[in-house]
Amino acid sequence: MADARVLAGIYARLVGARIRSQLEYRVSVALQLVGSGLLTAVDFAAIAVIFANVPSLGDWSLGEVALLYALATTSFALTDIAIGHLDLFPQMIREGTFDQILVRPLPSLLQVVASDFALRRFGKVLQGLAVLAFALATVEIDWTLGRVLAIPLAIVSGAVIYGAVWVALATVAFWIVDAMELVNAFTYGGSFLSQYPIGIFARWLRGLVVFVVPLAFVAYFPGLYVLGKEDELGLPEALRYASPVVAVAATLVAGAVWRNAVRHYRSAGG
């Protein structure tokens, strides 16, 4: 098996080719960029509408929720660009095209992930960053070097966590091909949930996103650290710094789940 550096090189070349092919259709990409940006902006409109009626959500102000939204949305947008096409993965199983992937001498997950790179969804990243700018201009933050670094680190860790959840759940397709929308509950639902302070949700949901599907580490815990806010959940302070570690752990788990699932693949005879 080739080492990680070689695989990264191969991934970069495959993705580079995808990007160049999309840039052949500039107007189309530009229109979809605007469309996808507006589509995510709708989620922020929901938050704006809420704060047009009430001064706070739990004890979170508009600017504070905006920060959570920005971290969650930007992370999710990056994941969506890189692996959003996993939504189409059940088709590969159904049509048997996954067979072709298994006969090539490259890790199957790498090939599936590198099969598209949705530049057209970059509008979502821009929208997330615009809200980040708004949040940072609105809330008062006691800036330290740690807090400055925490923001990009949280976005990257968050993207990796979403990616791990997405990959792990996409393996459901190895058993049930017509149930991909089940995964949406966790991916799109998860990204929606992470935009809000976890404390407003019911106890079972909070437990789920802290201990099982680690979505609380995408925006909530890093957000607490950046804002210097008290944790309504009363959990240890160390969790505020844990997002990168959680991201690595989630990736390892997702990798193991994928490898195990591929062993159960039964071809459709494509």
């Binding site: 409109a45 009430v54 407003i200």
Partner: protein, 265 residues
């Protein structure tokens, strides 16, 4: 009529063929139902009534809107299925058939909506009513008006999506405009937050659009907080949009087919 009935049954069966997808979609809508319900419960810790909605109305809004999302087609392939056929040229086959394309699309969509009412909306609403305290109208008349309003919402929804699809007759790439239409619709149909939560002028303006007739209107009828305090006005507006959009769709489709050039093959 016979043909309409067969096409409607086909529309129903097309979705009935994939029960797994139905359960999965239902699960996703239920998860979103929980999430939005908890968010709105947190909102109502700071307010008694917002735009005529008390907390029980707002939670009813959550579960009815999630229940109706698929019924009226807020998301999904029906926003671009016909557009894709125009782009690939397959629409030429549709035009050769001895049937009215718009009418055929409509009755198939009604079949689909029927399926989604039974297998997506009713379980979704039942679960919400069971797990949360929501407004339940006591007069049977209100339930009838609500059912009528849902039916009109399905028609208005078809009208909007059919027109959006037709943009592909003029645009080489329809995906950007379709995304834009879905985004505008999410906002103005009341799919993300009740329109009653919007600032007054925007609330009224949004409720006059065909988008609100797709989703917000039936919910307003259900909780009894209709535009201008009049359920009759809301139903009249929905009827207007259902007819006007169908008429507009007919005219635009005719213009589009005159312009259509299918690459030979």
């Amino acid at each position: 009529m016979r043909l309409d009935w067969e096409l409607a049954r086909h529309g129903y069966r097309r979705y009935a063929a994939y029960p797994g997808a139905t359960y999965a979609g239902l699960f996703t809508n239920v998860v979103f139902g929980f999430l939005i319900a908890y968010i709105l419960l947190a909102v109502y810790e700071h307010a008694e009534v917002i735009g005529g909605y008390d907390v029980r109305d707002a939670i009813a809004y959550v579960w009815i809107s999630q229940a109706l999302l698929t019924v009226v087609g807020i998301f999904g392939a029906s926003w671009y299925e016909l557009a894709r056929r125009v782009q690939t040229g397959d629409v030429a086959t549709d035009l050769q058939r001895p049937l009215d394309v718009q009418r055929a699309e409509l009755v198939q969509d009604l079949g689909r909506a029927g399926y989604h009412v039974l297998w997506r909306a009713l379980p979704q609403f039942g679960l919400g009513a069971l797990l949360f305290e929501i407004t339940i109208p006591s007069e049977p008349g209100r339930w009838l008006l609500f059912a009528l309003s849902v039916a009109l919402a399905v028609l208005a929804g078809f009208g909007v999506r059919f027109l959006v699809n037709l943009a592909s007759f003029w645009l080489l790439d329809y995906r950007g405009p379709v995304l834009l239409a879905i985004a505008v619709n999410l906002l103005l149909s009341g799919a993300i937050m009740p329109l009653a939560f919007f600032p007054g002028w925007l609330d009224t303006a949004a409720r006059l659009t065909p988008f609100a007739s797709m989703l917000q209107a039936p919910i307003d009828v259900y909780v009894g907080a209709p535009l201008g305090g009049s359920t009759a006005l809301v139903l009249a507006l929905q009827t207007f949009w259902a007819l006007a959009l169908y008429g507009a769709g007919r005219a635009v489709f005719a213009a589009g087919t005159r312009k259509l050039v299918v690459q030979g093959g």
